[in-house]
């Protein structure tokens, strides 16, 4: 009946206190997860993700505009087919990107165009854009005015030249996003843009040659 005489807590008490402490830590952790504490923040307005979404959406919208013009007045079946594909695909992708911006609580426009790209990397020192072009490969208002004034095969040739250069510029933007965007959905979309527009550029080069045209200088 005489148990061990001891001035310290028994091992059993220590063990039980440890169990309770661990249990409370686990419950606390579970509560934090349930409350969403520690979840990744959404991209900020000056992030690559947001900058790409804003700028590529605007870039796409010009392609859609030129493609819709081709659908309206080209009589060349292959050109019309390509224009339909570009208009549909890029319009849908604009919706995607603007949807993400909305989820992140960011406006679809604003911010310095292209500021998200090449900041500090100096990778664009040697790249020239047409005067007045906001983003790589985009047509200026003057160039669009010329396009709108054309019909027949001259229209088709000019359309293909402008669209090829537009794709080449967009590709630069998309390649940058593949490397530097943080949100995986952005990287995935950017990668598909790089790859499918490369294929379209090849197609357009062939079509241009067939119609007696030559490409514009790359952006």
């Amino acid at each position: 009946m005489t148990g061990p005489s001891s001035t310290t807590r028994s091992p059993l008490r220590t063990a039980l206190l440890a169990v309770i402490a661990i249990g409370l830590v686990l419950l606390g952790g579970g509560l934090a997860v349930a409350l969403g504490i520690g979840r990744t923040e959404s991209p900020t307005a000056d992030s690559v993700d947001a900058g790409f979404s804003r700028d590529m959406a605007l870039h796409h919208l010009q392609a859609v505009e030129m493609a819709n013009l081709a659908l309206d007045r080209s009589e060349d079946e292959a050109v019309r087919g390509l224009a339909f594909d570009i208009a549909e695909t890029q319009k849908d992708q604009v919706g995607r990107m603007q949807g993400w911006l909305a989820l992140w609580g960011l406006p679809p426009t604003g911010g310095d165009a292209m500021a998200w790209m090449g900041a500090g990397t100096g990778g664009h020192a040697g790249h020239t854009m047409s005067e007045g072009a906001v983003m790589p490969g985009m047509a200026t208002e003057e160039e669009l005015a010329v396009l709108r004034g054309l019909t027949g095969q001259p229209f088709d040739v000019e359309f293909l030249r402008l669209m090829m250069r537009h794709h080449q510029g967009g590709r630069q933007m998309a390649e940058y996003a593949v490397e530097h965007a943080e949100v995986s959905a952005i990287r995935t979309l950017a990668r598909s843009i790089v790859e499918s527009q490369a294929a379209e550029t090849g197609l357009m080069a062939g079509m241009l040659a067939e119609r007696g045209g030559t490409p514009l200088p790359a952006p």
């Binding site: 001891s6 039980l16 249990g23 579970g30 087919g81 695909t89 294929a199 197609l203």
Partner: protein
């Protein structure tokens, strides 16, 4: 004399015993002997702590089990990734495949990717049911646009089977159905880089595949591309047979 000592001893023992049961007491031995006070802690079980720890563990376990059960129930039968579909075959055609006007000798039959007809010559896939073996190079372009394409061997399926497959496709943008001559199983469903061959038109995996892969932008090269090609509905291009 001896008797005295004995009674002294027993008294000491009894006193000792009672002392251990009763907590610390000062030495009160008769005869003025004082013993140093000894703290004897009663080794009772710490019931409060035991109950508290059991309660915490039980509560934590209950919460975790409940949460897991909720998740389990929500995910039952759900296809969350390709591997959840039994028997699925996966291939690795990269995006940006070439556009060609000429026939392509595809490795897979039915094909799941590779060079294909140029825009806008994808086969219409706006929930279209074809009754001819549509040209494969046009169908592959539809896969590039996110379509799920169900094919069947016309010699091995009944009209009722075809009707059942048509129900999955009819009017559902992103899907198309066509017979496929020489198909090596009764039914085969494919999307870009993915294929499932099954023996029965009633196999539930056909719908699982279709529901998972149709327009699933994680798995095809051109998110946003259109399935529309009304010219192809009006005049579907047949697959060329070897006979001229």
């Amino acid at each position: 004399m001896a008797k005295d000592r004995t009674s002294d001893d027993t008294r000491a023992q009894r006193t000792g015993a009672s002392r251990s049961g009763a907590g610390p007491t000062g030495g009160r031995g008769k005869g003025g002997r004082t013993r140093p006070p000894v703290n004897v802690v009663t080794p009772q079980r710490p019931w409060a702590l035991i109950i508290a720890s059991i309660a915490v563990v039980a509560f934590a376990a209950a919460v975790i089990i409940y949460a897991l059960a909720q998740v389990e129930q929500a995910n039952e039968g759900k296809v969350e990734k390709p591997e959840d579909i039994a028997g699925l075959q996966t291939y690795d055609y990269s995006a940006g495949q070439e556009h060609v006007e000429t026939p392509v000798d595809y490795t897979e039959s039915p094909p799941v990717g590779g060079p294909h007809a140029p825009p806008p010559q994808w086969a219409d896939c706006t929930g279209t049911v074809y009754d001819i073996d549509i040209r494969h190079e046009n169908a592959v372009h539809s896969l590039e646009h996110g379509a799920a394409w169900i094919t069947y061997n016309p010699d091995e399926v009944s009209d009722a089977d075809i009707a059942k497959l048509a129900e999955l496709v009819d009017g559902q943008s992103g899907r198309m159905l066509s017979p496929y001559a020489g198909l090596d199983s009764p039914v085969s469903i494919q999307s870009w880089n993915h294929q499932l061959k099954v023996d029965s038109a009633s196999d539930e995996r056909i719908q699982q595949f279709a529901d998972f892969f149709t327009y699933n932008t994680d798995f095809y090269p051109e998110p946003g591309a259109s399935c529309e090609n009304p010219d192809f509905i009006a005049n579907p291009i047949p697959e060329e047979t070897t006979a001229p």
